[in-house]
């Protein structure tokens, strides 16, 4: 123990003398942990929100009936439907104010709730209490905390009413309070009124039709996709995770480089300790303890950084998830203990990975071996061979994953293999370049320049690999995002041809509006759309996937403008005949459909066999989509939603039409938007989706700059002995530092050159493989040379900035320090 402590103290004293090295190591580990845990926090947050959405008693998981005209309806409809055999459960929702905050009050009837919801209700005595009197108000623990109230409290609502005693229900959404339906009717002052009927079981085929029981008063609303959110958003999160891992790896490169250097510089200390009798075991424990302490420290710092990153990115991610999938995220970041444990664990694992080779090398070192770069050329050749072998292995892995694997994971594995392989192979072309330079060089100084650069290569290579990864990712992701932006904008222009889009509140409203519009001269065409939902399975194993079927009337608006990827001759004619469909790219890939294949669509009136006559891109859509003729759809789906409209009008009269529509029909128009606003909104969703990606991309670049800086700083100290002879031979410090600067810039430039093809390969992998597997659509592959220039400049700038400080130090180094090299021979 004594030995261990003194060995640890002696080893640790090294960091006091070299705070820069310690900082690089610490920052490397901390950044790796920060980016990884930041992404993990974002993912956790999203998953928790999905759970909450699903956990809001699962009320959204059942289809329901709502008033066709919106608002409330009489309870008698519930009784009438139940007595007709419809298994429906009444809900009354409203808002109450407690203190200065609003809460969503949901009244439920526990005995008739759908199974998915009733399973989450209290049972036994607790159910008796819930039914009352006086009943119970169920709320999430957070809600109770926010209210500052304990269980059993009965907060006042307004002047006269009180909530029933509060009780905790773990998986309710915050801000939601659940009471018995009778209590809700009293508190919301809606006696015998309901806002929704959940359909607990689909009505039997021979059950009376909805309209036969209660007329047109209620309309059916499909279940939220909330429970499917987790599935749909998986790809999105996998993307994030991949980025987190990339950043983690880049961070580890930094840590590895610093560890390597630290171990090398401490070899003499370790040798001395061994010579004066510190046992190998004590030294091993000391090194491991040091590593663990460092990892814990850096891990905690990284976790704090990760929290900050996640907090900064959360709004963008929340917005893009909502835009893409309609998933709502809690705005406040919550941190689970598992997040802390996994984050610190990643820091520890990272530290071990980064330090393993150095540790093993140190401990296996014979006490008497002399550390100097003797026969370094020989050693370097070995090192290069090893790098080449590892690179080949990684590239082989990438190829295997690409050829043999199928899912998104395989896509990412191939990408990781490609990046890693390329990074490992990087020193090969660099070394070749330097050898060539050395051979071609005339003057002694130039020759020395190349030879010395060659010797420096192993020390810098890790930092350069990190830079390569960051630059390639930058090019790859940049190409993808820019390419997508252009494609998307063009696609929006083609797809959004109609001037006005609106949704009627009910079918009665829809008819009235249609009649009214038909009389207006400034409306060139009324295009009613019709929507139905179904699910399709791609295979027996795969779970059902939601598919939307859109029925549109035959019109020039579609046949002349609608963007298609592949199409048969007279595709629109076939669609209009009612036996053909256009299929979205996602759905086509999922179901392996091509032009000419046939598809059986399950409908309420039996299977409907259609021929696929066209494939169209449906960027950003999480579900599959089919487009068919409207009349054909209505004849097979009598209950299909017939509320959506597109209007053609002159651009200048569009605002008038919109105003007139709204003033004439008021709440009869549920939603209305013009073309420009719709495009704007779509682009906003798009931008936000990639905001997180772009932010992580930029962070990775910053990290690689830090890596380069750390490596250069630590190397600079070790460079003095190499430079001193030149100085003694008459090369000025200014020239020496200039040469150093040129060398670093040269390295960066060469790395940037290599990063262009790698970045393009990455971009191709992203658009043609990862994106297809993640989202189901393929993007056109664009090349943006201006981006390369940008990246090139960025690389030089990064290198220059990173090199500046060490070189400034060199230029100002005291001649005494250089002299010391001779006085104090190693």
């Amino acid at each position: 123990m004594r030995q261990f402590l003194y060995a640890l103290a002696t080893l640790a004293s090294h960091w006091r003398r070299r705070p820069g090295q310690f900082a690089a190591l610490f920052v490397g580990l901390a950044i790796a942990t920060a980016l990884w845990s930041g992404v993990a926090a974002l993912n956790d947050q999203a998953r928790r929100s999905y759970d909450h959405a699903a956990g809001a008693l699962g009320l959204g998981a059942s289809p329901s009936l709502v008033a066709a005209s919106g608002g409330f309806f009489v309870q008698d409809m519930f009784i009438a439907l139940r007595r007709a055999g419809w298994k429906v459960s009444p809900i009354l929702e409203g808002t109450i104010r407690l203190g200065d905050k609003s809460y969503r009050l949901v009244g439920v009837e526990p005995l008739t709730l759908p199974k998915i919801s009733s399973a989450k209700m209290p049972t036994g005595e607790a159910l008796n209490d819930f039914l009352g009197p006086p009943g119970r108000a169920l709320a999430a623990p957070q809600t109770l905390r926010a209210l500052g109230l304990a269980m059993g409290a009965t907060p006042r609502i307004g002047d006269a009413d009180r909530l029933p005693p509060l009780a905790i229900a773990e998986d309710l959404s915050p801000g939601m309070i659940v009471v018995d339906i009778g209590v809700a009717q009293r508190l919301l002052h809606r006696p015998a009124r309901l806002s929704r009927l959940l359909i607990a079981e689909e009505p039997a085929p021979d059950a009376p039709a909805l309209a036969a029981v209660i007329g047109e008063a209620l309309r059916r609303v499909e279940a939220d996709e909330a429970p499917e959110l987790a599935k749909l958003t998986d790809s999105f999160h996998l993307n994030l995770t991949a980025f987190g891992l990339l950043a983690y790896v880049v961070g580890l490169f930094i840590a590895h480089a610093s560890f390597g250097l630290a171990f090398e510089q401490r070899l003499p200390i370790i040798r001395t300790l061994r010579a004066i009798g510190a046992s190998l075991r004590a030294l091993t424990f000391a090194l491991i303890a040091e590593l663990t302490l460092l990892a814990l420290l850096a891990g905690v710092a990284g976790m704090i950084g990760g929290y900050l990153i996640a907090a900064a990115l959360l709004p963008d991610m929340a917005a893009s998830l909502e835009g893409l999938y309609g998933a709502e995220l809690d705005g406040a970041l919550g941190l689970a203990p598992s997040w802390w444990i996994s984050g610190i664990g990643m820091a520890l694992i990272g530290a071990v990975i980064a330090a393993a080779s150095g540790l093993v090398k140190t401990l296996r070192l014979p006490v008497l071996a002399i550390a100097q770069p003797f026969a370094w050329r020989e050693a370097q050749r070995h090192w290069l061979y090893r790098q080449a072998a590892l690179a080949a292995l990684a590239l082989l892995g990438a190829a295997a994953a690409l050829l043999l694997g199928e899912g998104l994971e395989a896509g990412f594995v191939s990408m990781a293999g490609l990046l890693l392989g390329a990074a490992l192979a990087l020193p090969l072309p660099l070394a070749a370049m330097l050898r060539l330079g050395e051979r071609r060089a005339r003057g002694p100084l130039t020759k020395w320049f190349f030879a010395d650069a060659l010797q420096q290569l192993p020390g810098l290579s890790l930092a350069l690999m990190a830079l390569l990864l960051a630059l390639s990712t930058n090019i790859g992701v940049g190409s993808m995002v820019e390419g997508f932006r252009r494609t998307f904008a063009q696609w929006l222009d083609q797809r959004l041809v109609a001037e006005i889009y609106f949704e009627a509140a009910s079918e009665t409203d829809a008819h009235r509006i249609e009649t009214w519009l038909a009389r207006r001269e400034d409306v060139a065409a009324i295009l009613p759309l019709c929507k139905a939902k179904t699910t399709r399975r791609a295979s027996a194993i795969e779970t059902a996937w939601p598919v939307e079927i859109v029925g549109a009337p035959p019109h020039e608006t579609f046949s002349a403008h609608f963007p298609l990827l592949e199409t048969r001759a007279d595709a629109w004619g076939s669609v209009a005949r009612g036996d053909a469909a256009l299929v979205s790219e996602q759905l086509a890939r999922r179901l392996r459909l091509e032009l000419g294949s046939h598809l059986n669509i399950p409908t309420p009136t039996g299977d409907w066999r259609v021929e696929i006559v066209g494939l169209y891109p449906d960027y950003g859509a999480a579900k599959g989509q089919l487009r068919v003729d409207r009349d054909a759809l209505v004849s097979r789906w009598p209950d299909a939603r017939k509320l959506d409209y597109m209007l053609r009008a002159k651009a200048e009269s569009a605002p008038d039409v919109m105003l007139a529509l709204q003033s004439e029909f008021g709440a009869g128009v549920a939603r209305i938007i013009d073309q420009a606003a719709l495009k704007q909104r779509s682009m906003t969703i798009f931008e936000r989706t990639f905001a997180v990606t772009a932010a992580l991309d930029a962070l990775t670049l910053v990290v690689s700059a830090i890596a380069l800086f750390a490596s250069l700083t630590t190397l600079a100290a070790a460079r003095t002995p190499q430079l001193a002879p030149l100085w003694a031979a008459g090369v000025s410090r200014r020239s020496l530092s200039l040469l150093e600067f040129v060398r670093v810039t040269l390295f960066a430039a060469a790395t940037a050159l290599v990063s262009v093809p790698l970045g393009l390969a990455l971009a191709y992998d992203l658009v043609a493989i990862v994106n297809v597997r993640a989202f189901g659509w393929r993007l056109p592959f664009h090349v943006f040379p201006s981006q390369w220039l940008e990246v090139f400049a960025l690389a030089l700038l990064t290198a220059a900035l990173a090199a500046l400080l060490p070189i400034r130090r060199l230029a100002r180094i005291a001649p005494a320090s250089l002299l010391a090299v001779f006085a104090n021979e190693r």
Binding site: R2, Q3, Y6, T10, R271, A275, I276, A278, S279, N824
Partner: protein
């Protein structure tokens, strides 16, 4: 007095160090390169011996073997009735820590520790740190005013004095010195060696020193020369 008779004397008097039949060869490009071919040596407690020989004669190798820093091919090394060649790594480390003091040609100080901490390092590892003894050493070695400095701020002679102090701080039975003044100028070297011998005597440590200088060797009790892998008269 011959080395052989000295070995006999040591055996009679209970030698501190007894080396018998020690052989060691290194792997060279053309097969094994024998360095030591059956060396016998004995050293009584409190005495000193200078080990001389040309470069490559195996002086340092012999010293390293005695320190347990390297493994012999055959033969035995006994220090205080402990058979060094039979010790495992932990045992050798303990031997170095507690029984031996080692001074190298290169000063081998820990650059990130102060002079004071360097002085105390081995004694602390051995669990024998004695504040008064360290202060006495520092005083005698002329390092008292330099205790808070770092090695790189000292001259070569000062650094080697720190190394000597570090080796003697745990009061070893045997001090092994490998060309301790090789990196120092003559006057400094003389002074350091005098201190080394004087303090070893004070501490009651025997001294085995490798040197190629006959002048320095003369300061020790006895001398022996390595040639052709054997100790010569």
């Amino acid at each position: 007095m011959s080395v052989m008779s000295a070995a006999r004397d040591a055996a009679v008097n209970g030698a501190l160090l007894r080396v018998t039949g020690l052989s060691k060869s290194y792997r060279g490009p053309q097969g094994p390169l024998p360095v030591l071919r059956g060396v016998d040596l004995a050293l009584a407690a409190g005495t000193s011996l200078a080990l001389m020989g040309e470069s490559g004669s195996g002086k340092s190798t012999l010293l390293h073997l005695v320190a347990g820093l390297d493994h012999a091919d055959s033969g035995a090394i006994r220090i205080d009735d402990v058979e060094v060649t039979k010790l495992d790594d932990d045992g050798r480390a303990a031997l170095r820590r507690k029984t031996l003091g080692v001074v190298f040609q290169q000063f081998n100080l820990v650059p990130s520790l102060t002079v004071g901490d360097n002085l105390a390092l081995q004694a602390r590892l051995a669990g024998r740190y004695d504040c008064d003894w360290r202060d006495a050493l520092a005083d005698r070695l002329g390092l008292s005013a330099l205790l808070d400095r770092y090695p790189e701020q000292l001259s070569g002679g000062q650094q080697q004095r720190v190394a000597v102090g570090r080796a003697l701080a745990p009061r070893p039975r045997l001090l092994l010195a490998d060309e301790p003044t090789g990196n120092l100028d003559e006057a400094t070297g003389d002074a350091v060696l005098d201190l080394l011998l004087e303090l070893s005597a004070t501490a009651g440590a025997a001294v085995l020193m490798v040197t190629h200088s006959a002048l320095l060797a003369a300061k020790l009790d006895r001398r022996a020369t390595l040639a052709g892998g054997r100790l010569a008269l």
